[in-house]
């Protein structure tokens, strides 16, 4: 039995070409097929479909999509079964080099060489990449032993190698927290997690289960101010930061570690969107999309972390269902609603996805607050509508459903969203 049938012959034309076979790409493929697209090509860089899910061996996946808590590889496996049942061409070990404005997709793979296929629609589902040391500019030496958390996760979980013996983790994002636990359980001493912000970036659940359970300290408002070591990492200087987030070196201290993992955020891996010339959102780093997850270039759709960073794979897949469905509709000539309402981030809202929606449809809006509101939170949707949340923190994406009733009342075709502490608007 073969786990993944692998396409060795490419058609010259596909209804939908999907770039990336992670939780977004696989969901989009299934949805597009169900909506009537005939020929679908799903392309992935790695040898097996699944994307980053395959290295996320921890639980926390599937509650929304499969109604059951499973691990990343299981989530990928279940989706892959659906993809296979839906007769989708899968090309792995392949890379999409370019998509032209008229949707000619240039790709390379050892099986097919460099070749071009025409696409009726393209779904961008490339996911995200990790921010690196360069992005946050930690001064000091450049020894070995400084890894992004995701790279460490790959080497530990897939290949069974350890990054070192004594590690510190910069950034309290979920991958960093999860790697703190993984390393601690595999016999690497984890001296602490350091977070620049005054609050944790990861989910509360991970703070408790990855740090508290294993007695790993979390240092808030603290950063790595310098890296020392000529060959291998020998030492880091950590220091508390002031209100401007600048390290206070005189209050800093040194830690002997041979490993530093960076979990300092993800960035949409949206180069393909950029080269296609679609409009980008400066806050998310991903393309601007409408209620069908279509970018500003007709026929090019996007979903998942390439659009904005999600907390849960389930949400990525749900978003990709919208994209896959609409991509299929766009090639089958189905009537598509006009995207007539612009969604605008207001008070304490960093961004909202999608950026426009159709007023006669029902949509899930996803957004993040800029600053944490650690108590009852009021969402203002336009002038009239109010929703209550128990709290809203940047670490957790907020989703709200809006329907025609609300959207048709919107004035000037703009829906502004604010998230403010409930007590502030009591009057």
């Amino acid at each position: 039995m073969t786990v993944t049938p692998h396409t060795r012959y490419l058609a010259s034309r596909y209804d939908v070409v999907i770039v990336g076979a992670g939780p977004a790409g696989m969901a989009a493929a299934v949805a597009a097929r169900e909506r009537g697209a005939e020929r679908i090509l799903l392309v992935d860089r790695e040898a097996d479909p699944g994307g980053i899910l395959l290295q996320c061996i921890h639980a926390g996946f599937g509650l929304h999509v499969f109604d059951e808590e499973i691990t990343g590889p299981e989530y990928a496996g279940r989706y892959l079964e659906q993809v296979l049942e839906h007769d989708v061409d899968i090309l792995t070990d392949a890379y999409v080099m370019d998509v032209s404005p008229d949707l000619r997709v240039k790709l390379m793979s050892p099986d097919i060489g460099v070749s071009t296929v025409d696409a009726g629609a393209v779904v961008l589902a490339m996911g995200a990449r990790e921010r690196t040391r360069g992005a946050i500019r930690i001064p000091g030496d450049r020894p070995s032993g400084v890894y992004t958390a995701g790279l460490a996760q790959k080497m530990v979980n897939l290949d069974g190698y350890l990054p070192g013996r004594r590690a510190a983790i910069l950034g309290s994002g979920d991958i960093g927290l999860i790697m703190a636990r993984r390393l601690a359980l595999e016999g690497v001493e984890v001296v602490g997690v350091f977070e620049l912000l005054p609050y944790a970036s990861g989910l509360t659940r991970n703070i408790v289960q990855c740090l508290h359970d294993l007695d790993i300290p979390l240092h808030l408002s603290t950063t790595v101010a310098a890296i020392h070591g000529r060959d291998r990492l020998e030492r880091i200087t950590v220091a508390p930061v002031d209100d401007e987030r600048q390290p206070q070196l005189d209050a800093g201290w040194d830690l002997d570690v041979d490993t530093l993992l960076l979990s300092i955020g993800l960035i949409p891996d949206a180069e393909l969107a950029r080269t296609l010339g679609v409009q980008m959102d400066g806050v998310t780093g991903g393309p601007i999309v409408d209620g069908c997850m279509e970018t500003t270039r007709p026929g090019v759709f996007a979903a998942g972390n390439v659009v904005h960073i999600n907390d849960l794979a389930d949400w990525v897949s749900q978003e990709a269902v919208v994209a896959g469905d609409a991509a299929a509709a766009s090639v089958t000539g189905a009537q598509r609603p006009r995207q007539d309402v612009r969604i605008v981030p207001g008070d304490n809202v960093a961004y909202v996805v999608p950026h426009t929606v159709a007023s006669d449809g029902t949509h899930t809006l996803s957004f993040r607050v800029r600053r944490p509101i650690t108590g009852p939170t009021l969402l203002r949707l336009g002038d009239v509508h109010r929703r209550k949340l128990r709290a809203a923190v940047p670490a957790e994406m907020v989703t709200v459903k809006v329907g025609p009733k609300l959207l048709e009342e919107v004035r000037d075709d703009v829906l502004r969203i604010d998230a403010v502490p409930a007590e502030e608007v009591a009057t």
Binding site: G60, P73, G77, G160, T204, I207, Q209, H212, L218, S221
Partner: protein
């Protein structure tokens, strides 16, 4: 600058404490972004009162976390003859929090031959928990 979030740890039981006294334990609720700081009053395992929650789920979590905290556990085992060196596995059900390390230790050194399929059991009743450890990814035999 250790955050007080970390002060979850149950106060050390003191020998002098007479049995039957009410002690207060602190937990951080994981149910939602609110992250409520729960206070659980209990006489040993008998919960008297949960405070600090904002919803029913929070109260239930406080009780559970005090009386029988359980966790999902995942790790990896050696796999022979697949394209990668480690096969991902998990406890099929959650296990007592205090046994997480034991479960991972019990799997250390274990080698399974490829192929494996999702759901294959690699270890039954791990550490007497009554929970099996299962593979979470299909891995073919290659070459």
């Amino acid at each position: 600058m250790t955050t007080d979030l970390h002060d979850r740890a149950t106060p050390e039981p003191e020998d002098a404490t007479p049995q039957g006294d009410v002690e207060t334990h602190a937990y951080l609720c994981t149910g939602c972004p609110l992250g409520c700081r729960l206070e659980v009053d209990a006489i040993d395992d008998e919960v008297v009162e949960v405070r600090g929650f904002s919803c029913k789920k929070g109260e239930r979590y406080g009780r559970q976390e005090h009386t029988d905290p359980r966790r999902p556990v995942s790790t990896t085992v050696w796999i022979e003859g697949a394209a990668i060196r480690r096969a991902p596995v998990r406890a099929a059900d959650s296990v007592p929090r205090d046994q997480i390390r034991d479960v991972v230790e019990a799997l250390r050194g274990l080698i399974v031959p490829a192929p494996v399929r999702r759901g294959d059991v690699v270890l039954r009743d791990v550490c007497g928990t009554g929970v099996d450890v299962i593979v979470t990814r299909d891995l073919d035999r290659v070459r």
